[in-house]
Symmetry: C2
C-alpha cells in the first residue's frame, strides 16, 4: 500500500460521523468514496468529507482502487461487506459487534486470513484514553500481579430515546454494553476460563435484560462485570466505565469523571485525567469520540508496520464467545466454559 | 422470667469482653456466673463484672438458677452448651457461627424448640448502627424496589497476627467474613434462590481462600458479596463493610468511614453517620462494639415481649446453608441451589 491510504467508508449513519471526523484529522489517509443504502447519507458524507458517494457496496468495490475499507454498517451486513473486501483484496476495519453469530464471525475471519489481509474490529473501549492509562499502570508492575477486577457500567441515562432498538431486543444490555467490558477484562487481566451470569429485567416496558452481573474466573484472578441501565447515582456519568483492578502490591481505580487513583508501595497517586480535545467532540461523548481517533491511529500503524491489530478479527472471536457464553449461562443457569464455541 | 434477668456468660475470651462490657451497661440483667475452661479467665471476668466463676458448664447449669445463658465459646462446643441449656430449661443466645455443620446446627435448633425456649444467634453485622440506617432507608420505600446489591469487605489489614487460625484453615475468608455478608444480603434483599462462587488464594503462606466473590440470585434481584484480605486502599477501613443497594427509584450507599448517601426522587441526601459512643469502645472496633449492645438489647426485648429474635437459631440455619453452599459451589464449579441442605 502507498500513502496516502485510499479508503472508503461504508455505512454513514450516526456513529460513522465520528469516524469521518477522526479520519479528517489524520494525514496519510484519503477518503475516496462513501457508501450508504440511504443516498442522502452517502451524499452528505461525501460532500462534507470528500469522495464519490455510492449506495451499492458491490459497485463501490468494483469501481474504486482501495487500500482499505471502514465498515460502519449494522451487524447483519458485516459479513457480506467483509467478504466483498476479501474478494477485492482490500484490508478492512469493521465496527463492533463483528457479528452476533459465531459462524458468521468465523467465516469473516477466515475470508480475510485466506486473502492475507489486515482485519481489525473497531472495539473502542480499550482504546479510550483512561483505559490506556489503567493499562499503563498494570504494565508498569507497581500494583504487582492483578488478582481481582471490577468493570462497572451503571447508569439511569435514557438510552431508549436514542436507541429504540434496545426496547425490543430479546438480548439487550449484555449484547450492548457488557461485550465491551468483556474486552476490557481481557485487556487488563487476560483470558477468562469460565463465567457465570445473573441478569434481570427491571424496566417492565422492554423485552430483554437491563441489569446484568457476570463473574469471570481467570487463572489466579476473578473479575466482576456489572452493567445496568436502571441505576440512579448522584450525577450522570454516562457513558463512563469504572474500573478497579487489585494486585498483590496495590490497586488501580478509574472512578467517576476520569479520576485515576493508584495505591502502591510508593504511596497514593491521584490524577484527574484530561481527555484529549477535538474540535468536533463534545461532552458527554468526548472520551468515546477521542477513542475513535485512537482506534484509527492504531489501524494505520498496523497497516504501516505489518503488526497484527490488538483487536483483530481473530482476537474478537473471543469477545463474541464470552458474550454468547454469557447468554448461554443465563439461559441454562450453569457456568459457561469459555472457548466452547471457538 | 422475672427482672433482673439472671444470666451466665460461658466463654470469657477475647470477644466476650465486649459482651461483658455491654451487659454491664444494661439494667434489667444480672451476671450471676461466668464460665471458662481457663480458670483465670472465668475468675477475672467474675472479679470485674460479678458472679461466681466456673470452669465446668455442667456444674454451672446444675448449681445456678438462670433465665438465660450467653454462649461465647468456640463453635465446636456450641452444640453441647445449647443442649445443656435446653436440658435445664434456660434460654440461650449463642455466638456465631452457630456451628460449621448443618447437622449440629439443626440439632441445636430442635433442642431449643422442643424445650420451647428463646434461642438467638449473636450475628452482629446486621445490628451495626450503619446497617440499621441502610435498612431504614430501604423500609422507607424512597429507593423503590431493590434490584441490585453489593456488599463488600476488602482490606489489607493483617488479620493473621490476631487470628493465627486463619492461616491454617482449609476454609477461610468465606467462613470468617462472607458469612456475615450473606446475612446482610438476606437482611436487605430477602432470601436468595441460588449462588455461584469464585475464590482464590493470593497469600501463598495460607491454606484457604483469601479472596472470594459470590454472586447471589434472588427473585428480581442480584447481589454481589465480595470479600478480600489482600486489597490495598488509600486508607485502612478495616473492619468496615461497604454496601450499595440500587432500587427502581434510587440508590443507597454506605461508603468508607460510615458515609451514607441516599439518591432518590427527593434528591441526594448525604449523612456522616456517627457511631454511638461507649466508654469501653475504641476505634477501629467501635462500630462492632456498639453492635454488641444492639444485639443484647434485641435479645432482652425478645425475652420481654415474646417476639422471635431476628437472628433466631432457625433463621441462622439459612446463613449456614448459604455458607456451606458457597463452598459447595467452589468445590464443584457449579451454582448452589439455596436451601438444598435445609
Amino acid at each position: 500500500m502507498s500513502r496516502p491510504y485510499r479508503f472508503a467508508l461504508i455505512g454513514c449513519g450516526f456513529f460513522a460521523q465520528n469516524h469521518l471526523q477522526a479520519w479528517a484529522e489524520m494525514s496519510d489517509v484519503e477518503l475516496v468514496a462513501t457508501c450508504d443504502i440511504n443516498p442522502d447519507s452517502a451524499a452528505a458524507a461525501a460532500e462534507t468529507f470528500g469522495g464519490t458517494p455510492y449506495t451499492d457496496a458491490a459497485e463501490l468495490f468494483a469501481n474504486e482502487e482501495l487500500d482499505f475499507v471502514d465498515i460502519a454498517t449494522t451487524p447483519p451486513t458485516h459479513r457480506m461487506m467483509v467478504e466483498l473486501a476479501a474478494q477485492h483484496q482490500v484490508a478492512a476495519i469493521c465496527q463492533k459487534p463483528l457479528a452476533w453469530d459465531m459462524n458468521d464471525a468465523q467465516a469473516m475471519v477466515r475470508a480475510m486470513a485466506d486473502a492475507d489481509l489486515p482485519f481489525m474490529v473497531h472495539e473502542n473501549f480499550r482504546f479510550q484514553y483512561p483505559m490506556r492509562k489503567v493499562k499503563e499502570v498494570l504494565d508498569s508492575g507497581v500494583i504487582g500481579r492483578p488478582f481481582f477486577g471490577r468493570i462497572s457500567f451503571r447508569t439511569a441515562h435514557d438510552v431508549y430515546s436514542a436507541q429504540p432498538w434496545c426496547m425490543d431486543a430479546e438480548r439487550m444490555i449484555i449484547a450492548d454494553v457488557s461485550v465491551h467490558q468483556f474486552d476490557l477484562t481481557r485487556f487488563f487481566l487476560g483470558e477468562p476460563d469460565r463465567l457465570f451470569t445473573e441478569a434481570i429485567r427491571v424496566n417492565p416496558q422492554i423485552k430483554g435484560e437491563d441489569v446484568a452481573t457476570i463473574v469471570l474466573g481467570l487463572p489466579g484472578a476473578t473479575c466482576i462485570v456489572d452493567t445496568s441501565y436502571e441505576s440512579s447515582s448522584d450525577h450522570s456519568t454516562y457513558p463512563q466505565t469504572f474500573v478497579t483492578i487489585e494486585g498483590t502490591d496495590g490497586t488501580v481505580t478509574l472512578g467517576p469523571d476520569y479520576h485515576l487513583q493508584v495505591v502502591s508501595p510508593a504511596g497514593v497517586h491521584e490524577e484527574q485525567l484530561v481527555i484529549p480535545e477535538h474540535s468536533w467532540a463534545s461532552e458527554p461523548w468526548n472520551c468515546i469520540q477521542d477513542s475513535v481517533v485512537n482506534v484509527q491511529h492504531h489501524w494505520i500503524h498496523c497497516l504501516e508496520s505489518g503488526q497484527t491489530p490488538e483487536t483483530s478479527g481473530a482476537d474478537t472471536l473471543r469477545v463474541l464467545d464470552l458474550t454468547l457464553g454469557a447468554y448461554q449461562s443465563l439461559d441454562t443457569g450453569e457456568p459457561y466454559r469459555v472457548g466452547s464455541m471457538l
